[in-house]
Amino acid sequence: MEKLILVRYGEIYLKGQNRPFFERTLVDNIKKVLGNYDNPKVFRSQGRIYIEEIPVERAVLDALSKVFGIIGINPAWKTEKDLDSIRTMLKVIVEDALGKTSGENPTFKVESRRADKTFPMGSMDLNREMGAFILQNFPKLKVDVHNPDIRINLEIREHAYAYHENIPGAGGMPVGTNGKTALLLSGGIDSPVAGWMIAKRGVRLTAVHYHSFPYTSDKAKEKVIDLCRLLTYYCGPIRLHVVPFTEIQQELYEKCPDGLLTVLMRRFMMRIAEIIAKEDGAQALVTGESIGQVASQTLEALASTDDAVSLPVFRPLIGMDKKEIVEIAEKINTYETSILPYEDCCTVFVPRHPVTKPKLDKVRQAETLVDGEALIERALEGVEIHDL
């Protein structure tokens, strides 16, 4: 008898011809998050992924619960396909389950599945046989087939498998199955959540951050690196591009109308992100904007940022309230880092009275006051890359 982990996956069932590709990607992603462990065996068979030769401990289960594409994780036991071995295994499982269950007289149920039709006993008979065995050995347990405290799953496949715990997975699709996008990552609460949501749909991320030293400190940059690292637990490896942005801000500040500064800045950010995206093989841009949250997120302002680029711009938070965004940020553990007080220290480049409904022609015209191409080229030369 040995312990192992069973992983169930969901939506990728639907993908017909692509299914083997999706499954392979998921297996690879699981291997990656278990990289700290010495050669666990990860393989798939009959719609399940099996992880063997690994300590079944909290850290492993937590890491797995962040892998997109997984819908459920079961710490399980496996043994030979004979009734005596199965009985011994169930005894261990019930003891484990009782250790994790409170209450005087817990109830239980055995649910068998016989995938191996050569096994001599049917699943109904197995349920009865093993239920009776458990009742004999654990007199304080009672049977409840509708709403049991302990649900023991027994599966007869190449071996006999059993488990009683089901840990929900992150859902979504395996990262790497749906292309790549470039995430504009500011260091605030929203953009990491936006990245997480896109990655959940199987999309890989590359990240772009704008650094305005000395107006923002190197601690702000460190914080963005930390945020990226937190995202990698879900989204896989991320290449972070830190773009020096001070010169662009200063030029815009000196030469363009004050009220348009934010919109102009956003346009430059989008343009630079688009160039980086294309170089890095990303097919769309992702931002953490939601309608009306700040002056630069009115429909007019969003339209005039989109106008600067030709790649599609995804804004997964567009219809969400701050509270909902914060809830996700807390769930994915980026919130605490996001609220560290290092971002945009200096309000110099934030106009006192931003134009909330910028007219596109005015914006385009204002932009001609600076040598955009040269500025972008210099910024790109100074890009610092962190592979996380």
């Binding site: 107006y215 200063q250 004050d258 945009d344 220290c345 110099v348 480049f349």
Partner: protein, 386 residues
């Protein structure tokens, strides 16, 4: 680029002799000072030597110095230890509004436990008025805790007068002073000054981080906060941080020589620096005491209309390292509680930067600072809010 480190009130680099001694000790003195064999004895002896060097610097008996993990622990131990021991005699403590957070937050915790704490105001130089202290004293006052040198603006409280006054009139009140910023810079005489408890930290005087001391006058009531093997006279159990202790001892020895040779090395550098700045950047305002008063190593200035943090980063890009009194964010600027207490207007407080020196500062390098500051200020001013 030349690196000019002017953040010595935050921490100091190790003196080379201290570094050598620490490395030696790390390899050789691995015995547990409590062990009975030769190696244990050797470690115990090292601790004794360090304790002596540190005690000598303040002219106190060696057995009145106990080692802690640093200034914060020393302050916690002093405040919590005495109030625990004196609980039956009263319910009131006195401190000032400009203490270090390890003092203020410890008192805030005591308040949550039901203690009364008076926070004395200071004037625009950061100085306490003795009359205010006298007025604040009550029948149930058990502890007065007043920091010696303020870490942000360098104001120096008259702790010898305070201590002598308390001893003459209120001998039962315990007097603690946080001397983290003055230890090794100003000659301390706790015995003569009527001080019962005094905190100091190693890394502010070129020793490693993670080591500090609390001077405890013999007979001062103090409850331990940490139980175990009874090390440090039963007050602070736990296997001693031998490397830290050895490093602190060595630093204390060297500083004793520095202070003996010439008292005023650091102040002279500060005066030159202040003069240079006032010529190169005449719009700079000094926060707190005049350079010839105040602590020898701390100079706090503001350039009106410029944020301290922005200036800090520009200076950093020119190789000069300083501190700010306030952390700023786009939403709200958190003003330093010290600058608030001395009544600095918000524009001044937002702009404050602290330059702090040490025995390792190089007078030649300091001559470059005023011009670098001028250049940095001009750079920031080009982009200040319209």
């Amino acid at each position: 680029m030349r690196q000019i480190y002017l953040d010595n009130a935050a921490t100091t680099p190790l003196l080379p002799e201290v570094r050598d001694e620490v490395i030696r000790s790390l390899t050789e003195d691995f015995g547990n000072p409590s062990s009975l064999h030769r190696l244990g004895l050797q470690s115990e002896r090292r601790i004794k030597e360090s304790r002596n060097s540190i005690a000598q610097l303040m002219n106190v008996p060696a057995d009145s110095v106990i080692f802690t993990s640093g200034g914060t622990e020393a302050n916690n131990l002093a405040i919590l230890g005495t109030t625990r021991a004196r609980k039956r005699y009263g319910n009131h403590c006195i401190t000032t509004q400009i203490e270090h957070s390890s003092v203020l937050n410890t008192f805030a915790y005591l308040e949550s436990e039901g203690w009364d704490v008076s926070y004395l105001p200071v004037d625009n130089q950061g100085l306490l008025d003795l009359k205010d202290l006298e007025k604040a004293i009550r029948k149930d006052t058990v502890l007065v805790s007043i920091g010696h040198v303020n870490s942000e603006i360098g104001s120096v409280q008259p702790i010898s007068r305070i201590g002598q006054f308390l001893k003459a009139n209120y001998p039962d009140i315990i007097f603690h002073s946080d001397a983290v910023q003055s230890f090794g810079k100003i000659r301390l005489r706790p015995v003569d000054w009527g001080i019962d408890l005094l905190s100091a930290s190693g890394h502010k005087v070129h020793a490693p981080k993670g080591i500090g001391i609390l001077y405890i006058k013999k007979g001062t009531p103090l409850t331990t906060l940490q139980w175990g093997g009874g090390q440090e006279m039963g007050i602070r159990s736990g296997t001693e941080n031998l490397t830290g202790i050895v490093g602190f001892g060595k630093a204390a020895q060297l500083i004793y020589e520095f202070m003996d040779r010439e008292d005023d090395t650091i102040r002279k550098m500060k005066m030159t620096l202040a003069k240079g700045i006032s010529e190169a950047v005449p719009e700079a305002v000094i926060n707190g005491p005049r350079p010839d008063e105040g602590a020898p190593h701390i100079l706090n200035i503001s350039i009106p209309g410029i944020r301290g943090e922005t200036l800090l980063h520009v200076l950093e890009s020119h190789g000069v390292y300083v501190s700010t009194g306030s952390a700023c964010s786009s939403r709200r600027t958190k003003i330093s509680h010290v600058l608030e207490a001395i009544g600095a207007p918000i524009q001044i407080a937002e702009g404050a930067i602290r330059l702090s020196l040490s025995y390792m500062s190089d007078p030649e390098e300091l001559l470059l600072v005023p011009d670098i500051l001028r250049k940095s200020v001009d750079q920031v001013k080009r982009f200040t809010r319209r």
